[in-house]
């Protein structure tokens, strides 16, 4: 599906979605509460069929956090990027791990590095860091004077 057609189709599903101009891939912003329904529809509809999630990450923009989901369809070969702004004090969003199984480990990684809590995740615990680690390392305000030596 072409970019404009994809944009129109997503607006038809959820009219509150805003789009970003320019960029190589189609970027769509959605509220965290509606994110899961939108992604579920994108996965289930036949003409969209986004069955391959190839990247799940989070970006820390000092005032808020943004979850970024990169989706591709193996049938139609179109790509869309869904973003969702989270509150910095209490970042919470629904889990996507029952729609795409790859999200299970990816969400655990985002949890331990950024502190985003995923509601209904089957097994949310630390993956890469040791269990006693305190703090969210990849946030911009993370200070570690013992280990991190400034360049």
């Amino acid at each position: 599906m072409e970019r404009e057609a994809l944009q129109a189709r997503i607006s038809a599903i959820n009219a509150a979605v805003t789009f970003e101009e320019g960029g190589e891939m189609l970027n769509a912003f959605v509220e965290p509460a509606e994110c899961r329904d939108l992604l579920q529809t994108l996965h289930n509809m036949d003409d969209l069929a986004f069955d391959y999630m190839f990247c799940l990450t989070c970006v820390d923009w000092k005032t808020h956090l943004t979850m970024v989901y990169h989706l591709e369809s193996t049938k139609h070969r179109h790509i869309v990027v869904i973003k969702s702004k989270l509150d910095r004090e209490n970042p919470e969003i629904d889990t996507m791990s029952d729609i795409w199984r790859t999200a299970e480990l990816l969400e655990r990684e985002v949890y331990e590095l950024f502190g985003v809590r995923f509601i209904n995740h089957p097994d949310l615990r630390k993956l890469l860091l040791s269990d006693e680690w305190e703090g969210w390392p990849l946030r911009k305000d993370y200070e570690d004077p013992i280990n991190m030596i400034k360049l």
């Binding site: 320019g22 199984r101 890469l128």
Partner: protein
């Protein structure tokens, strides 16, 4: 980490495999729940080589961070560097000279060959055949010598820069590569004789580690792991980058969904790599090996994503830039991370000895998973 061997309420045994174990895959710690010898659950415990590369790259300049990524998936280090250079070039919107693109693709395919050779030796060693390891390393040394003459290093060749390659190829490069290809083409039938047709090897690999096509896509598997289940996912064919749209090669797909299928996919990929290099090696055009860029690179504000096909699967480099001298956020989408998440699904219900055979064909490189 578990301090002692535990038996839980249902009488299952919980054992640790790793982080230091003789399979040469790196430091992976698996907590396996066994019922007798049958696996009930595998829980990977990662992080033993988590070197915080993503945080570190936020303080390195755009020219510097490329070389840290060669240490991530060190067996296809050139392809990693290629991905980072492509992302930076997307941001700068510069045109790469044709000569540089040809050189990059030839080096990519040589790296892929070297990685698959090491995989073949290590996979045979994991299931018990110790001799193919030495055969594989003999061929790999020939590629390392070719790389060393041109790039200066054997394993982590820091050869790509944003704009092209760092230096022109050595005058002996084409001759030595052609000699190596001639030698290696006589060796591939030997590999088939030694390992592929061996009845013991086939019994250990066939019908082990099954994963269906829908599950492979859902788990995000890519590369040979997914292609053995019939998923057509070669980034070189679907979203071609560099000059991959000009070369003729077939994507190697199997439909058997098991370990033996993954093995056959990689053997076929080696043959396709040889064919790609043969098409390109004599036709390298004259010209610049590097486009002109400023000494200090600043990417404009925005987000850039580029995908390449490494020897293990799809690598994605996602750069968020705020217009400064260093990237604001870098995320590396590593192929091993998603392939590992399918291990639990693949190994359930099989025996503990089969788990080693599955890991051998998944071809995991742990620093790639942990970053």
């Amino acid at each position: 980490m578990l301090e002692e061997v535990a038996v839980n309420d249902t009488g299952d045994l919980i054992i640790n495999v790793g982080p230091q174990h003789p399979s040469t895959h790196g430091v992976l710690h698996l907590i396996i729940t066994l019922n007798g010898e049958t696996i009930k659950n595998i829980d990977p415990n990662l992080g033993y080589i988590h070197r915080s590369i993503e945080k570190m790259c936020e303080s390195l300049s755009y020219r510097q961070f490329i070389y840290v990524t060669s240490r991530m998936d060190y067996l296809s280090s050139h392809i990693n560097n290629h991905a980072c250079a492509l992302t930076v070039e997307k941001g700068l919107q510069i045109e790469i000279p044709e000569r540089a693109q040809y050189i990059r693709v030839i080096m990519d395919e040589l790296t892929r060959l070297a990685s698959h050779q090491l995989w073949w030796g290590a996979a045979a060693m994991d299931v018990g055949a110790l001799t193919p390891f030495f055969h594989a390393f003999r061929e790999r040394e020939m590629i390392n010598e070719i790389m060393e003459e041109t790039c200066g290093a054997r394993l982590t060749m820091n050869y790509n820069v944003p704009g092209g390659v760092m230096a022109d190829i050595h005058p002996d490069f084409q001759r030595k590569t052609k000699e190596f290809l001639k030698f290696f083409k006589t060796k591939l039938p030997e590999y088939d004789e030694m390992v592929t047709g061996n009845i013991i090897f086939q019994n250990r690999m066939k019908n082990i580690g099954l994963i269906t096509k829908e599950d492979a896509i859902s788990y995000g598997c890519s590369g040979p792991t997914a292609r053995a289940s019939g998923v057509s996912c070669d980034i070189r064919k679907i979203h071609p980058y560099s000059i991959y749209d000009k070369v003729n090669f077939t994507e190697s797909i199997q439909t058997s969904c098991d370990s033996y299928g993954r093995y056959l996919v990689r053997m076929e990929e080696m043959r396709q790599s040889i064919s790609i290099i043969e098409q390109l090696i004599d036709n390298i055009p004259e010209g610049d090996f590097q486009a002109k860029t400023k000494a200090v690179i600043k990417l404009p504000k925005g987000e850039f994503y580029s995908r390449v096909e490494t020897a293990r699967g799809e690598l994605g480099v996602y750069i968020v830039s705020e217009g400064g001298l260093t990237p604001y956020r870098i995320k590396f989408r590593s192929p091993g991370f998603s392939n590992l998440s399918a291990l639990n699904h693949m190994a359930r219900g099989q025996k503990i000895g089969d788990m080693v055979a599955i890991m051998a064909t998944l071809d995991l490189v742990i620093p790639d998973i942990d970053r």
